[in-house]
């Protein structure tokens, strides 16, 4: 249980930092207080994480970046878990041709390395905004979820309580939502927690490549990109957001680990 507590505390702390960013951050994320005097300035009391090439405060950008990265992670995973659960329930419960058809799509979706799926979509659509990015990450991220939900649904389908519900004439969609779903919810939570970390990593990668969150909106990935050529003279620009990503992904992984251990009796 300690891992769950540690993970949820860390996640709660990160969410709090992100929500309170406007209160905590000493500057606006795009403010350029002194383009010449504060260009790539080293960390100081006024700028604890230093400033970047446009004299913007790196701490403020990382804090606001937390809002962007966490929001994208949570919303995209909400989409992919919803879609993945729906597909998994349908495939696992219906079986037969529906199952075979859906699972072939899932096989193909999982075969293309994830970033390539996103890159194809990004290359085709012009003018990516944050909501569009969330949609792309969400709708390309459900394949793995659906496979897990399908397996859980298949095993739930054979249980007595489902047979009993069917025998007394409860319609299929109600059986799925009221009886099967609660029994497959636990593994979904584990996947969701891991998924948020993975989406944050993917979003950071895309923003680093310059095809994710559009500048000047801060995202941890594009702050790293801002500082990548200044590593020798101003290492603080890329270091702070990198550490933020590591801490966040780790928090969600520890939470997922804890939940998985709590669900697996052998691990106690």
């Amino acid at each position: 249980m300690t891992r769950i507590r540690l993970g949820s505390l860390a996640v709660a702390a990160l969410l709090l930092l992100a929500i309170l960013a406007p209160v905590i951050a000493p500057y606006a994320p795009t403010a350029q207080p002194d383009l010449i005097g504060l260009r790539n300035a080293a960390p100081s009391w006024a700028h604890p994480f230093g400033t970047d090439m446009f004299s913007r405060d790196v701490l403020s950008r990382v804090l606001y970046g937390a809002r962007v990265s966490l929001l994208i992670g949570v919303l995209a995973v909400a989409i992919s878990v919803t879609v993945g659960t729906a597909v998994g329930l349908a495939a696992g419960y219906a079986g037969g041709a529906v199952d075979a058809g859906l699972m072939r799509v899932v096989d193909a979706g999982l075969a293309i390395p994830k970033i390539f799926v996103v890159l194809v979509v990004l290359a085709l659509w012009e003018g990516i905004t944050v909501p569009v990015l969330v949609g792309i990450l969400g709708f390309t991220g459900w394949f793995g979820v659906s496979r897990i939900v399908r397996a859980e649904t298949q095993s739930a389908r054979g249980r007595e309580y489902v047979a009993a519900a069917r025998a007394i004439g409860i319609p299929t969609h109600r059986i799925l939502v009221r009886h099967v779903l609660p029994n497959v919810a636990a593994p979904i939570l584990v996947v969701a927690s891991l998924g948020i970390g993975q989406v944050i990593l993917l979003e950071a990668g895309l923003s680093y490549l310059g095809v994710g969150v559009p500048q000047p909106m801060p995202s941890w990935g594009n702050i790293i990109a801002d500082g990548q050529h200044l590593f020798a003279s101003a290492p603080w620009i890329s270091t702070a957001p990198g550490l933020a990503i590591v801490a966040t992904v780790m928090a969600f992984s520890v939470l997922a680990d804890g939940m998985r251990a709590a669900l697996d009796p052998r691990d106690r």
């Binding site: 072939r104 193909a108 075969a111 390539f116 194809v120 290359a123 990935g221």
Partner: protein
């Protein structure tokens, strides 16, 4: 053994057929995406004032874009089957050519990264799994979860800065030294390539090694609980022999399957690492093409990446079957 090998062939044929179905679905998914996007490839052309609508419609005819969707789909599949991925908009040459130049670089990078990943990952996982709960186990768990949580491009940048720029031990970009490589001896050429390969492969391999080690650790814990291990201990075998001969063999099997699954992760990471280290592979090709909206290159790279994943999974499945006698009698 002889019987086992004999029924490997139908097994491989079955898996191959499955792989082809996956590739067919991948191609179809890409086609659906292409046509779900607003407009067609020539929409941006028609926005230019100097190109008349007549020219655009003639080009549309030339490219077959005036045909009904089912016809376009069949043509697209036919072209793919013949290995024709279209023409790059920005490089003005067949996409296949650009990809053919990039693939060896990516395969080299991914293979070396895979070796680092599994070499290191399994060793660490075994070290942890044989003494669970110890200080070593807990320290290594901290290390592996940190590696696993790292953005691969950020680790690449850190390695590049420390070992490339600060210490100057390794070159920081490209596959070879453009100045000295053409004049180097064979050994010198080989060294130059290895020298350029180490940092990007290390960044890519280390992040995945974190994941592999975590899996290997739990596989080891699982294997040590098995009856054969208890029997081996009861027979009075030394702990070292118990671990090496009985537990490890069983614990390595899931890792082979994992190697097949690690391939898509490594290819995804390669997109970023190749960009960091200016490594002219499939990932950098795709990432650069996205910025230029050169989507025949992006879709071609995605299809090729999927093919590499399918082949990787196939190899992992066949290897598991050859190594694990239990999978031969089943199925």
């Amino acid at each position: 053994m002889a019987r086992g090998h004999r029924n490997v062939l139908p097994f491989v044929a079955g898996r191959l057929a499955q792989g082809l179905i996956v590739m067919f679905t991948v191609a179809t998914l890409v086609f659906v995406l292409l046509h779900a996007a607003p407009g067609d490839p020539l929409t941006s052309l028609s926005e230019q004032p100097r190109i008349t609508p007549e020219v655009v419609s003639r080009m549309r005819q030339n490219f077959g874009l005036d045909q009904p969707i089912p016809i376009q789909y069949l043509r697209y599949l036919g072209n793919l089957a013949r290995g024709d991925l279209g023409i790059s908009y920005t490089q003005h040459r067949p996409v296949v050519q650009a990809i053919r130049e990039a693939i060896p670089n990516t395969l080299l990078l991914a293979t070396v990264a895979l070796l680092i990943d599994f070499g290191l990952g399994t060793l660490v996982g075994i070290a942890q799994g044989t003494r669970p709960g110890s200080a070593t186990d807990r320290t290594l768990s901290g290390v592996t979860i940190t590696l696993y949580s790292m953005p691969v491009f950020w680790l690449g940048l850190l390695l590049m800065f420390v070992f490339g720029e600060r210490l100057g031990w390794f070159p920081i970009a490209g596959v070879t030294n453009p100045v000295t490589y053409p004049y180097a001896s064979l050994a010198g050429k080989l060294f130059d390539r290895m020298h350029h390969l180490i940092l990007p492969a290390l960044a890519l391999g280390l992040v995945s090694a974190g994941y592999t080690a975590r899996h290997q650790r739990s596989a080891m814990l699982e294997a040590i609980r098995q009856d054969c291990v208890r029997t081996a201990r009861a027979k009075g075998l030394r702990e070292r022999a118990v671990v090496m001969r009985h537990a490890l063999r069983n614990a390595l099997l899931p890792t082979i399957t994992l190697a097949g699954l690690a391939f898509p992760v490594l290819l995804s990471g390669a997109v970023l690492i190749e960009t960091v280290f200016a490594w002219p592979g499939l990932g950098k090709l795709a990432a650069d093409a996205v910025g230029r909206r050169d989507y025949p290159v992006v879709t071609g790279a995605a299809i090729l990446a999927a093919a590499m994943v399918v082949v990787g999974n196939l190899l992992a499945d066949v290897a598991t079957r050859l190594i694990d006698p239990r999978t031969r009698t089943a199925a």
